[in-house]
């Protein structure tokens, strides 16, 4: 994985020192809150409902065990012993004290991490397929280009005050696991006549105006990608609206001007910019690629340490069924570690769990971890012979929940339990749904089902692209939950359709239960997933399940 250059170290250290001085000036009254707020946001520090919140970037979701250990240390020393992994491959600490934040940033810098540009109208943390570098189905590891984008976008002088925040996601696989169509720019690796490049998608996004991104270019060669991105962002920087923050994202710019007009401007800008790069980006990419050499996989014939005394229990087999994905190397597997134990807070890991994950990665996983946008932790390189021991170690840490891709593997934003923007709570709804379906013991029978919950219209919980989406709002002074159906975050992403009026906090879990149990009756057979049944039958029969009373009344 990538290691900081002297330049990176010096830059991050300088930013920590700057922020330390800024915090001191805020505390001694030299800076007003109005002056300080943009400075703290540039360093990922929000003031939330009950406390400050520090959002730390995990670039393209990749962590070493050393970094995970340090996150655990930070959680214990300066927070309340846990961290929250987010849908943008960040980790959030919910309880830091203002004067201690510079020390946290210092501790992050020690392990080559930072919180720069995790807020503000800048290019945010670049996200990537959480199986990058390991997936059997990928064309190539997308992380070198993601790291190049991270370096280019960090402190880019032209892009520190964009019309609005700007999110980029990259995938190296045709099976899109990075939701590239719901980003300001989505990059999908592709081959054209044997040349590596990217399909460039722009103008996707969720939030109050959800839109699926459009193809700006079907192929931009690898060596052109950085000047092309600069052309896109600089075009948006000039053209994007600054009169109304709700119309300031590139999705609205694209919608208002049309993709063809945007393309014309981008291409003209690209022609101007390309010569100025003069190949410096290419040389940098070649240097970065050296950091992403695959680990030295154990060869199939080598002796393998395996504890055959571990029982092949039904629980272990269930875990193998749901939490293991095919790896590109023979005899290897990708392990998804669920942070969604029913009743737990989606995406939360205790310091002890972080340490356990770090140790397992060091002992069995070539020292690599990933954070997925679905708020789980990935061990990308595990030899199959080590799976029983990995499972055993995960179980010891209460991390062996076998539910990846099932109904209790819920994405949920922090909602009104933490977030100052939220209009309703998300976490209790996720906890109750997961607990209910665990009690019903139907989860594996129900099969693949993506349920995603947001506590406000900003849609951090990706509800629009959930097979079942839940949006928490305020209605007449109480929490109300709207259901959307048929969303999809995959390669052919779709925005879900609102099913009807919202449900009260005490009605939402029974409504989801009616919906899902009803699906079991509607499906052709076990092989027809919830989403497939919805696509075959349309909204109406599902709506009837959600609103049985109105059907009777009609």
């Amino acid at each position: 994985m990538y290691h900081y250059s002297n330049f990176d170290h010096a830059f991050v250290a300088e930013r920590v020192a700057q922020f330390r001085a800024q915090v001191a000036r805020r505390l001694d009254g030299s800076l007003s809150e109005e002056e300080f707020k943009p400075l703290r946001l540039m360093n990922g520090l929000y003031l939330q409902l009950h406390a400050y919140m520090l959002r730390v970037a995990i670039p393209y979701g990749t962590l070493s065990s050393r970094q995970m250990h340090q996150l655990a240390m930070i959680a214990e020393r300066w927070d309340k012993g846990y961290g929250h992994f987010t849908t943008r491959q960040n980790i959030q600490f919910n309880w830091p004290k203002l004067e201690e934040v510079p020390d946290i940033l210092q501790a992050l810098a020690e392990v080559e991490m930072h919180a720069i540009q995790t807020s503000g109208n800048t290019i945010r943390n670049v996200t990537a397929d959480h199986f990058a570098g390991a997936a059997a189905d990928e064309i190539a590891d997308p992380r070198p280009i993601a790291e190049l984008i991270r370096q280019w976008s960090t402190d880019h002088p032209e892009f520190q005050f964009l019309p609005r925040k700007f999110k980029i996601a990259v995938t190296g696989s045709p099976h899109d696991r990075a939701v590239t169509q719901a980003h300001d720019i989505g990059l999908r690796m592709t081959l054209q006549d044997g040349r590596l490049g990217f399909e460039v998608i722009v103008g996707g996004g969720l939030g109050r105006t959800p839109m699926i991104g459009k193809t700006l270019s079907p192929f931009v060669a690898l060596e052109d990608i950085l000047p092309y991105l600069e052309a896109v962002v600089s075009t948006y920087n000039l053209l994007g609206r600054r009169d109304n923050k709700y119309k300031a994202r590139i999705k609205i710019t694209t919608h208002e001007h049309g993709i063809d007009a945007i393309r014309q401007r981008v291409e003209a800008q690209f022609a101007r910019l390309k010569p100025a790069f003069a190949g410096a980006d290419w040389r940098l990419l070649k240097d970065i690629e050296r950091h992403f050499e695959p680990p030295k996989f154990k060869s199939a014939g080598a002796p393998i340490a395996a504890d055959h005394s571990l029982p092949q229990s039904p629980a272990f087999r269930a875990w193998l069924d749901t939490n293991i994905t095919a790896h590109k190397a023979p005899n290897y597997a990708i392990v998804s570690v669920s942070l969604k134990k029913p009743g737990a807070t989606p995406g939360d890991a205790s310091a002890a769990q972080m340490r356990a994950l770090a140790d397992i990665a060091r002992d069995f996983g070539h020292d690599e971890l990933r954070i997925s946008h679905e708020q789980n932790v990935i061990l990308p390189h595990v030899h199959r012979a080590d799976l029983p021991q990995v499972y055993h170690a995960l179980r010891q840490a209460d991390l062996a929940t076998a539910n990846i891709g099932l109904i209790s593997d819920i994405i949920a934003c922090p909602g009104m339990d933490y977030c100052a923007l939220a209009t309703a709570r998300s976490i209790p709804v996720a906890q109750q749904i997961a607990t209910r379906f665990q009690a019903l013991k139907l989860e594996h029978d129900i099969g693949p089902l993506k349920l995603k919950i947001s506590g406000c219209i900003n849609a951090c919980g990706h509800h629009h692209v959930g097979h079942i989406g839940i949006l928490g709002l305020e209605k007449a002074g109480v929490e109300s939950y709207q259901i959307t159906l048929g969303g999809d975050a995959g390669a052919d992403a779709e925005i879900g359709t609102r099913a009807g009026p919202g449900f009260g906090a005490d009605e939402i879990v029974p409504a989801i239960e009616r919906l899902v149990l009803g699906y079991l009756q509607l499906r052709l057979d076990r092989s027809e997933s919830f989403l497939a049944a919805y696509r075959r039958l349309g909204l109406e029969p599902f709506k009837a399940l959600l609103y049985p009373q109105s059907r009777k009344a009609a």
Binding site: R26, L27, D28, G29, S32, E33, L47, Q48, L49, H50, A51, Y52, K80, N94, W95, K97, L98, E99, T345, D348, M416, D417, Y418, R425, I427, P428, Q431, E474, G477, V478, E479
Partner: protein
């Protein structure tokens, strides 16, 4: 004399810890909602808010919040303020640790 009766408190977040705090008439801040001073006069509400906003080195983001007055003290009119006064529902953190 105002036609409609008001019932408000001043709330903010503590600058250093970020904790939710409430203004008392003694011009001090308390983390406990039950100890917040309830304001029923519009002029006093304006003056209290102005005082709170002038406390830039103590609190952040002061505002007036509607309450009803119950036997045990002020109760928020909006559920968001109820959550602010109690803390998150997934862990007994924040005010629930006291």
């Amino acid at each position: 004399m105002s036609v409609t009766q008001i019932s408000q408190i001043v709330t903010a977040n503590d600058l250093r810890s970020g904790e939710v705090v409430y203004l008392r008439f003694a011009q001090s801040w308390t983390p406990e909602l039950t100890k917040a001073s309830v304001i029923t006069d519009r002029d006093l509400a304006r003056a209290s808010l102005a005082f709170a906003q002038g406390q830039a080195n103590v609190v952040v983001g002061a505002y007036l919040s509607d309450v009803t007055v119950e036997a045990d003290g002020p109760r928020p009119s909006h559920f968001r303020e109820t959550h602010r006064s109690t803390g998150p529902s997934n862990y007994r953190h924040g005010k629930q640790e006291i």
